[in-house]
Structure formats: C-alpha cells, structure tokens
Symmetry: C2
C-alpha cells in the first residue's frame, strides 16, 4: 500500500512583482461565510478551561523554575506543538510552477512557548523566570535548525488582543520556515552592503553611536543595550541589542542570554508601567540557518512594537509609517520609568 503523502498546512506563494512570500493556510482555511459571522473564541478564557494550564503530554520541552527538567505539576515553562499550525510536514524546498507564479509547501514547524501563570506576563516575572523562557527559545531553535528543510526560525510574542493574541494566557510562538522571509532578506542585504562599504557591522556601528549620543538609550546592562531606533516605525518602538557581535540568537552564551532576558523583562515592565499596559508584539531578528560565516555581518537583536496606532491606507500603500512621537521623546520617557 502506498504511504499517503503528508499534506502541509499551508502553501507559500511568491508575489511575481515584489518577490515577497505569503502563506495561504489552506488547512485552517475558513469558508467565506465564516468571515461574515466573524465568530471569535473568548480571549480571556477562565483558568479552569484554559488550554495552557496543564503540562501537555506531547510537550517538546519542559523546565521547572530552577531550570531542571519538569515532568509533573511543578513545571514553569513548556514548549508544545501548535494545535492549529501554519507550517508543518511537507515537501522541502521543492518549488512548483503555477502559470507565471511559483509556490512551495509550507514545510516547517510551529510551536508554542507557554509559561505557567495564567495572568502574569514577562514584564511581571522575576529574572530567573524570564531567563528560562529565553533558554527554551534557544533550545528549540537549535533543535529546529537541525532539520535540513529549515531556512529561518521566527520567534515572536503577541501580547493582548489588539496585537493578535488569540488567548490571554502568556505565550510566545516559534515558526520554522523553508524560505528566508522578505523582511529578513532585506535586512541581510542592507547589513551586507554596509559591511562591504565600511568593514564594520552596521548594528555595531549604530549601537556604538547611540551609546555615545545617549538620547535614544532606554536601558543598558553588562551585555545588552535597549534603544528607541532613530527611524522608529511606530511610537515607543524599542530594540534590544546584545553588545557582543553574534549573527545568530542561538550563539549567545549563558551569561549573554541571561542579561538579555533581564533586559527584556525590565523593558516590558517599563512599557507596561509607563503606558498603562498597552498591547505589543516582540520578535527576534536573527540570521538564517546556514554555515557560520555566511551571514557573519549580521547581528541578532529583539524588536518590541507596541500597538499604539492602526496601520492604515498610507502605511499599507507605501511602507512609510507615520509616528506621532519622536524616538528621542519616547526614550526619555521610558528611561525615566522606574521598575
């Protein structure tokens, strides 16, 4: 009997003009009428029925608060497969033609990083709790990166309904992709061009300039700098840069990712306290999975984007976002928030 070919949960289609990829998630496709009905599940599920309350029998990883492997009710962080994955099993790096277009199956991984407390987000955690999350990100990214299909791993967090979270219980997501995403490809190109022209990493040059200038710095510890980018796309946008130049997040050693977890926790606490708990997204920008020197010009970092404005016609049409607060004012405000 012939084995059934696995059906990937989506297909990646390439725009013929821009070269950008989009994912058409056919496996979780809604019928047109579902958009009309517009039924959304409850965002704030009672703790008793929240699907993230218990240690998942299929957890890919679970730690206790002290970092030891968890197996029972003392777990603090777990990584589980996404119940409705956008990417999964499928042909790897096979590009099909469809008339003038091309597509490739959405082969990859889609996992969820869950912490135990139903209502406590990263900004309200202690250092050790936050550190275990970052450690889980690293461990799963290293595991996904071993799959020959995986070209890029996106680690991101949606906080609040306006930021696209479907459940209020704090969780991050990790998606491994068979292509390099368009925004990452552009950053890599810009970073490579700067390196060729100046023989220095563009992020190192920027962090060095910003530390001297001071006006856009929000927080700093031994291994990380938090700043409001000069060309902030949204109000109160923040980036966390590790001081040590490393292309990939997974390369950060223990003391670096520990300091990074501290910077993340403190920055999110400042944001929540200063702006009355706005919704936000954060994500890690890191080099693709490749041999060590392919993207050595790149410098991994994390971006925090508060949901302070709607992306409207002008922004969608042009890619130019209009921010109504200067990054220098945002940085001064956030720097002075004590947490």
């Amino acid at each position: 009997m012939a084995s059934r070919k696995p059906v990937p949960p989506s297909e990646l289609r390439q725009d013929i003009v821009s070269g950008d990829w989009v994912a058409i998630a056919t496996a979780r496709a809604k019928r047109p009428h579902a958009f009309v009905e517009n039924k959304k599940p409850e965002f704030r599920q009672p703790k008793a029925v929240c699907p993230f309350e218990k240690l998942h029998p299929g957890a890919l990883l679970a730690y206790d608060r002290d970092g030891s492997a968890a197996s029972g009710d003392t777990w603090w962080v777990q990584v589980i497969p996404n119940k409705y994955p956008a990417f999964g099993t499928g042909e790897c790096a096979v590009f099909h033609r469809a008339g003038p277009y091309q597509w490739t199956p959405g082969a990859g991984f889609h996992e969820v990083v869950v912490t135990r407390d139903h209502g406590r987000s990263i900004g309200a955690m202690n250092h050790e709790e936050a550190r275990q999350i970052v450690r889980a990100y690293q461990e799963r990214a290293a595991a996904m990166g071993k799959d020959p299909c995986v070209k890029f791993i996106s680690i991101f967090h949606n906080h609040g309904r306006a930021a696209g979270a479907s459940l209020s219980h704090p969780h991050s997501q990790m998606i491994a992709l068979p292509v390099i995403p368009p925004d990452i490809a552009r950053s890599l190109r810009g970073s490579a061009e700067y390196f060729r022209a100046h023989n220095v990493c563009v992020h190192c040059a920027m962090v060095s300039f910003e530390r001297k200038a001071g006006i856009r710095i929000i927080y700093e510890n031994d291994h990380c700098v938090v700043l409001a980018p000069y060309a902030s796309k949204t109000a109160f946008e923040m980036r966390i840069f590790p001081k040590v130049h490393r292309a990939r997040f997974e390369e950060a050693v223990a003391e670096e990712y520990s300091a990074f977890a501290g910077a993340l926790r403190i920055t999110l606490a400042k944001l929540s306290k200063g702006l009355s708990s706005p919704d936000y997204n954060f994500f890690i920008h890191t080099a693709p999975v490749a041999s060590a020197d392919t993207y050595s010009h790149y410098h991994w970092h994390l971006e925090i984007v508060p949901k302070t404005a709607i992306w409207a016609g002008f922004e969608i049409a042009t890619g130019i976002e209009i921010s109504t607060i200067a990054p220098e004012s945002a940085a001064t405000f956030l720097r002075n928030i004590r947490v």
Copy 2:
C-alpha cells in the same frame, strides 16, 4: 527683517539597515502621556458638527454631481487641505546627516477628497458620483506633480475605524512625497527586472494569464479587470487593473477612468454586501513623478485590502502574511455576489 523658514510638519528618517523611510510627524507629535490617556475623538460625529459637511472656503477643487465647477450648496466632491497635515512646506530634496543616519524634511502635500453625503460610501454611489471622485484624484495628482519637490503621490482611502479612518464621513486622502516610498521602490525594481527578462510588462502578463485562467477573476468591464491576487497578503484582497498599459494613473483618459470608477464602485459594493460591510483600505499604486519613459515598464492599478485580520508578531517580524482563505475561494465568492 529675515523671512521665517517654513517648518515642515514632519521629518523623513531613513533606516540605516533596510533603507526604508519613516515619517516622524513632529508637528503633530503627542506628548508621551497622551498615549496613556488614549483619548480618541468621536468617530461617528453627528452630521451637524461634522467638519466635512460644508463646502470649505479654501477648497482646492469642487465639482457638482454633473461635473461642473461647484461654488455653493450643490457641491458633490471637494478637495481640501488636511487640517493636520503629515507633509507640507519645507526644504526640498535636501538630505541632512545625523551621525550615521540621514533625514530630509517632510516636504509635500496632504489633501482630503470629500464627498457630500455623510453616510454614503463609494460602494453605495451611482456611476457618475464615483466618476467625479476619480476625476478629482486625477486633477489634484496632476497639479501636485507639477511641484519639482514631488517624487511620488499616494492616493488612498480608509473606510471604518479599524482601517484607520478618524471620521466616518467618507473621504480619501492624497499625500505627495519628496522620496519614492520603499514599497513602491520594490515594486518598480521587480517590474523593471521582469521587463528586462521577458520584454513584457509583468502586470500585463499577469492580467493576461488571469483572464485565461478565470479562477481569480472577480469582475471585468471594457477597460478594467478586478482579481484576487495569486499571492494575496490578506483575505479578500482585490486589485483593479486597467487593461491598457499605462505607467501612471494620471495618464488614464476619460473613458478609462470612467470604467475604473465603475469597477471600483461595483467591487466595493460586492465587498460590503458579501462580507457585511467590513472596514477596508484602498490605494492606487502608480509610477513616480518622472519623465514619461523612466518607468514605462510599470502599470498603475488599485489595491483593496479588507481589514479581516490583525497584523501580529509573525507578520511584523517577517513580512510574510498568513491568509486563511485561498484567493480562488475569495474570488468565487465575490464574483457571485450580485450588486
């Protein structure tokens, strides 16, 4: 006495890695605490106090329903300066250094195209009413394009609060910019590359393929084709392409823009009827202001993007959007909606 240098309402800052531009609208900057207070003006203003109800004394253009110049209470469409412009008077094409970065004043224009009826959007208008709007877009774009500062003119429409409209009274906006926006630059590059490789306009090739395939066609008239793009970024995304190859919207002759207005009106009516009046954005993608042959490979068109999903962490991080309905299903659904 020295004349005072005009202060532009914003500055355009360039991202050092991606090369993208963002606008920091300093003139309408909010204080940090204003984000906390989060006071939004009423979206649905009563007709009696709506600022778009009367013919504006400073209107740049006003037509009656029959297309004749309006001067009194019979006006149908008017174009007025935006009361809170994001772009305005300022030094033109002067690029300043700020450490490793560069910026340029937000020199340009920001205008609002208003139709008379407080609660009637384009999908509910008759052909002649819609045609006068498109004619107003064309006339103002031609006028803005004469300014040597202007590199690109963005024409867009936000419908509904979730789509970023600040007032419910139907209106479009036109913004003239001193730089070519990043998304437009990428489309131009892709279009030029395709032309070099195939000696045919990429949009003409796509429209020709889609008309033969049929599965993504939503509507067609003598001069326009409406389709769901193969690589749709969002659910129910639609594009209106003129059949005649022209780089710039302003080049469309009367019978072409009349058919275009008809296609726009009918497409928006289908969207509203089929999906229970969702919020949406639409915008025109057109070649930059330049000599006639510089961008002759480009093909102007209009994109309609319904607000059916939130742009969350993964989308912001990667630029890959996950759409939960196949464009083929969306097209079938919309094609069959009778309006």
